[in-house]
């Protein structure tokens, strides 16, 4: 477990999940997916295309905020990332609130683009660093976007995996269920079961998540972290010690 930060392991895992695609888009509040996408592009000599929401430099869109969604509707976004205040075993995500919607106990920021992108991006990778029975639940209170739909609903896209601080789940779209794919170094299957609120499948032997290579870590730390600071200055400072240019009045 020494030698890399949890965020670096998660980003490395996400890089493997992205695979060989043309265009990866990264939405709001997604520093770890952004780290993964930018590192992958650096390693690929400029490919895949990366669209980093909130960035000017890592963003080729020229048609305003709608272009990400139009682009996805055209089938031109291959990978996207979503999180959830709650995520359940059917792949439903909740970014809105807990309790009765009209009278909630907890309020999250809101659904962002999930109510659309979850349906049209072929490979949606879920990430939720905090792996607990609070976040991974049997059934979400509010479905910002469902893990699956009836067959007659137009849905070329959906979830393929869920990455947490403890493990990696694969998602089976036909069965609408997660399968434990690997457990991160230093964590155990029992611990995953203990901390997961939903049922999931698992093979008899669960592999350990591959650790990031020295080369990947070097790329992340030396080349990508400073780029990341444009959009995620606090994250870059906390994880990589990148100095943030502060504006004073």
């Amino acid at each position: 477990m020494t030698g890399f930060a949890p965020e670096e392991l998660l980003a490395d895992t996400i890089m493997r999940l992205i695979g060989d695609v043309r265009h990866v888009a990264v939405g709001n509040a997604s520093p770890i997916p952004a780290l993964a996408a930018l590192t992958l592009r650096e390693r690929g000599g400029g490919m895949p295309y990366v669209s980093l929401l909130g960035s000017r430099r890592h963003m080729f869109f020229t048609d305003g905020g709608r272009e990400l969604f139009d682009c996805a509707g055209q089938g031109r976004v291959d990978v996207f990332f979503l999180s959830g205040g709650e995520i359940d075993g059917a792949g439903n995500i909740n970014l809105v609130s807990i309790g009765d919607y009209a009278q909630p106990n907890v309020r999250f920021p809101g659904s962002f683009g999930s109510g659309y992108l979850y349906y049209v991006v072929p490979k949606v990778i879920l990430f939720r660093v905090e792996h607990s029975r609070r976040t991974l639940v049997r059934q979400v209170s509010f479905i910002s976007a469902p893990g699956g739909n009836a067959d007659n609903v137009h849905r070329p896209g959906g979830p393929v995996a869920l990455v947490t601080n403890r493990c990696l789940f694969a998602f089976d779209r036909a069965a609408k269920r997660f399968t434990l794919a690997s457990v991160h170094p230093g964590h155990t299957v029992d611990e995953v079961i203990e901390n997961t609120g939903f049922d999931f499948d698992r093979p008899e032997k669960v592999p350990v998540t591959e650790a990031p290579s020295a080369e990947t870590l070097r790329l992340m730390r030396e080349t990508i972290a400073p780029q990341l600071a444009e959009v995620y200055p606090q994250f870059a400072a906390r994880v990589f010690g990148v100095k943030v240019a502060q504006t004073s009045q």
Partner: protein, 277 residues
């Protein structure tokens, strides 16, 4: 058509927002596209009430402050947070305390609804949404059977026609043309809204429309009712290509606004007394 014949320049920020009446539907952009924070402070100073605030498609500090100051009756957006500085405390408190009416959306739905107004059509179709509780809680959205499909449900979203579009941009010329560069949603907002008020960092000498490159990124003065010059008008948020966000200030805000009292002190310090330039 509403609006005066030609764009007017407001002598100061308070006059620029004076024409926004209580109860108006006001549309504002996401954090990276030019948030009019100086104008927001002026609105709070003026104690504007009962706004129907549409944040296209999300909001951060601006929405939180307007809500905290009691200016908002209805909020229509896809998310409010302080980004890396955590949840938006006044927004969260208002939802939990049921002091505002929330119309939860998802980003592309809002873009489509504003585009519907831009195009003068009553609605726009959108994929996705089916099976989401966003749709469940939006009786103003409709599901129809796609007439070009076969057993293919699709959602129709009604047009959003704001009374006022309000944003901050890099520069304007004396004809009221406003340069927005790649932040094209500002153009869509101006097209969709009855009136547009823009604050800008500075004046541009000459006519933006005469330059083949600059004109491509310009909201024509035709759509602009009022312009006001407000240097660093997005502070403490960023204006891309110009200045970054003031992270230290935002961290202080997040801390202060965690309580109603702290938020009130923040307003006293930064809003009710005009900050020195």
């Amino acid at each position: 058509m509403t609006g005066r014949a030609m764009s007017q320049f407001a002598p100061n920020i308070d006059e620029a927002v004076a024409a926004i009446p209580d109860g108006a539907m006001v549309i504002v952009p996401r954090e990276s596209s030019g948030v009019p924070m100086e104008a927001t402070r002026a609105l709070i100073r003026r104690s504007v009430k009962r706004l129907h605030l549409v944040a296209l498609p999300t909001s951060t500090l601006q929405g939180d402050m307007l809500i905290g100051a009691g200016c908002v009756e209805t909020l229509e957006t896809s998310a409010v947070s302080l980004g890396e500085f955590g949840p938006a405390p006044r927004f969260t408190a208002a939802i939990l305390g049921k002091t505002i009416q929330m119309k939860d959306a998802t980003c592309p739905a809002l873009y489509a609804q504003v585009q519907a107004a831009e195009k003068g059509v009553p609605f726009m179709p959108l994929r996705g949404l089916i099976g989401s509780d966003i749709l469940t809680h939006r009786p103003d959205w409709r599901v129809i059977d796609n007439p070009f499909g076969n057993d293919d449900p699709i959602v129709l979203l009604p047009a959003i026609k704001p009374d006022v579009a309000l944003f901050h941009a890099a520069m304007a010329d004396r004809a009221g043309n406003v340069f927005i560069g790649r932040d094209r949603e500002l153009l869509t907002m101006a097209h969709a809204s009855a009136r547009t008020i823009a604050t800008v960092e500075k004046l541009y000498d000459g006519n933006l429309m005469d330059d083949p490159a600059l004109s491509a990124g310009t909201v024509p003065g035709f759509y602009i009712e009022t312009v006001a010059v407000a240097p660093r008008g997005a502070w403490p948020l960023q204006l891309l290509d110009h200045y970054p966000a003031d992270g230290a200030h935002l961290a202080d805000y997040a801390k202060a606004a965690a309580t109603a009292e702290g938020f009130a002190r923040y307003l006293d310090q930064y809003v009710h007394v005009k900050r020195a330039a």
